[in-house]
Amino acid sequence: MNLTTARGMKSEIYAPVTPPPVWAPLTKPLKECRVAFLTAGGIHLKTQKPFNLAGDYTFREIPSDTPSSELMCSHGGFDNSDINKDVNAMFPIDRLRELVKEGFIGSLSPVFVGFMGGGGNVDKFREESGPAIAEILKKEKTDIAILTGGCGTCHRSATIVQRAVEAVGIATIIIAALPPIAKQQGAPRIAAAHVPIGSNAGEPNNKEMQTAILKDSLNAMTKMEHFGEMIMLPYEYRHNV
């Protein structure tokens, strides 16, 4: 009887792979920074082509002045109900605009990016989508990129893109619901609250929590000095099913 399904497959061997460090220092005060937001949580404009839920390495450019009501989620890897209630739970576009108005950050990069990281093709994200997204942000003179991921493999895809962005000199942080994955996949900076996957950026319609998670994450960036630093944020939310 043949016990081998495919020759050369090495998945039964334990091999912890944390990629080499990548680091871009944050050199400006937050109030002078231009900030972009990227999500692997499958967010896109309602008018854009939805993602292929079985795996998709393409991405969608989202103008940062898009009303949150014009956004939607195509992702099969986690419970979408929070995002459907309030897209800011994954993609806090309204909160970021408020932070600009408040003077907490300088401005928003004109282009934000959504992709669907679930089950993502690691090579395609590393070699194509990641560098392409990084190029867009660099062209827009972005200083800081904040990311979120939804499911498990989504956190991996998000971290790959995060690393590509950091590699072109933009300081990044991932707001992770599954911080061990971000850590092992080599995220330069990690912030995490005790929230379900799908609400990384805070409870839906809880403006206070969403703002606090963003502010704490941004403030943490000003203090983090080493690759792989992680901060646990003191916010808790769980679904009342």
């Binding site: 009887m1 016990l3 399904t5 495919a6 497959m9 998945s11 039964e12 334990y14 091999a15 912890p16 079985a54 795996g55 099969g76 890897g77 986690f78 419970d79 679930g118 089950g119 690691v122 499911c151 498990g152 493999t153 989504c154 956190h155 991996r156 619901a177 599954l178 911080p179 061990p180 994955i181 092992q184 996949q185 995490a192 005790h194 929230v195 379900p196 996957i197 799908g198 769980r238 679904h239």
Partner: protein, 413 residues
């Protein structure tokens, strides 16, 4: 969600599960049972359920465990956390998961040395063919064969003559408090505890259900006073090294915390019968669950808004606010010189091979409001961080005796 069509085990799969069939039929194996554990959506919960399963595995005195999962991606945190938690208890494991190419582990640890990948496709990706990437008999046979080898290897190094096997040690160091005073900040100076009075204001803002809150220091000779209905007596203890049930815990003696609760309108926070009245009449001092007559009581009196003394959230708010105050004391207790405790006690989780096996089952409150129980708070006997047994569906949990005596239970009844 999170389970793709080809890896998902159908009801029919569970109904005639090849893993259960192979392991239960093997005459060399005494199958203790099957633990069913879910995969939560919050990272901290993932680690929590893994640790609880591992505690069961240990309590069952299992020689080995097979961990099988029918999802991947985020669920691999559950999978790897469980293998790690069991591995830390020195029980050999074999893991079974779909891995292939697409589901390459997003997290790993050093305990994952034997994983059966039940991928069945050349490409190694999740497909939409139901049942394609499922455990089949051969996977189960492989898993059991590997586990037998690992258990045999462990057997060889084990000393058979051992009468008692010590699993873990908990060292409880106690510091005696002779006097409690209000001060400008929380401080422990020899046997005098100072409490920052300003904590009152901070703690009362903890929850909108709280109208006001007061801290009283009740000296031993002053029990002839009126108190509102008692919600709980709790110890002041803090984790210094390790997790619940192991390492070092510091605790104060000579002092205990009492929470009382009432609503603004005067309604006493209680269910069947309330314990408000004269302190000396309402408390049987000197029992395991009450202070001794010589103890100083730190009394946190919470006034809840009308109606909130009759809600689950209101009662929990009172516990939370009180715990916030106690945390200020714990932070000082953590810094106490660990070489100079007044008393030192060592406790062990022990296996006594060949003796009669006995289990204790404690049935605790799980109805809601004042019939609630918290488990595994961040600090021994604390509230913050605990999980309500109601939220856990009142399902049974297995604790080691050391975890239990290290304050894993918070009574809210």
């Amino acid at each position: 969600m999170g389970i793709g069509p080809s890896t998902k085990e159908t009801t029919l799969h569970h109904f005639r599960d090849p893993l259960v069939e192979i392991v239960s039929a093997d005459k060399e194996i005494d199958l203790l049972g099957i633990i069913v554990e879910g995969t939560p959506e919050i990272n901290r919960d993932k680690v929590f359920v893994a640790q609880r399963s591992a505690a069961m595995v240990e309590a069952m005195r299992a020689d080995g465990a097979i961990v099988s999962i029918d999802s991947w991606g985020n669920s691999h945190i559950d999978f790897t956390s469980l293998i790690e938690a069991i591995g830390k208890k020195k029980v050999p494991t074999v893991g079974m998961s779909f891995v292939g190419n697409q589901a390459a582990f997003v997290v790993t640890n050093k305990y994952m040395d034997t994983i059966i990948d039940f991928n069945k496709t050349q490409s190694g990706i999740e497909t939409t063919v139901v049942g394609e990437n499922n455990v089949v008999e051969m996977d189960a046979i492989k898993a059991l064969a590997i586990l037998k080898l690992k258990m045999k290897k462990k057997e060889e190094v084990k000393e058979h003559s051992e009468d008692e096997i010590k699993l873990r040690k908990l060292c409880m160091k106690t510091f005696y408090i002779n006097q409690v005073l209000f001060g400008e900040k929380n401080k422990i100076d020899k046997d005098v505890l100072y409490i920052n009075k300003a904590m009152e204001g901070e703690a009362s803002k903890e929850d909108h259900r709280i109208e006001s809150l007061k801290i009283n220091i009740i000296p031993p000779a002053n029990h002839d006073m009126f108190i509102n209905s008692i919600l709980d007596f709790s110890p002041i203890a803090t984790k210094v090294i390790g997790e619940a049930g192991e390492g070092v815990t510091h605790a104060l003696t000579g002092v205990a915390v009492m929470i009382t609760g009432v609503e603004t309108c005067g309604f006493q926070a209680a269910n069947i019968g309330s314990s408000e009245g004269i302190l000396k009449e309402q408390v049987q001092f000197g029992r395991r669950g009450t202070p001794s007559e010589k103890d100083i009581i730190i009394h946190v009196d919470v006034v809840l808004k009308d109606g909130e003394g009759r809600t689950r959230a209101g009662i929990m708010a009172a516990h939370k606010a009180c715990d916030k105050i106690v945390q200020g004391i714990r932070d000082c207790l953590k810094d106490m010189n660990h070489t100079l405790p007044d008393e030192k006690h060592e406790y062990f989780d022990i296996i006594r091979p060949g003796r009669k096996k006995v289990v204790i089952i404690k049935q605790v409150s799980g109805l809601g409001c004042m019939y609630d129980t918290g488990v595994f708070p961040y600090e021994p006997g604390g509230f913050i961080g605990c999980r309500s047994i109601i939220d856990l569906g009142n399902m049974p949990l297995m604790l080691s005796s050391n975890e239990y005596r290290d304050g894993a239970i918070r009574a809210m009844s």
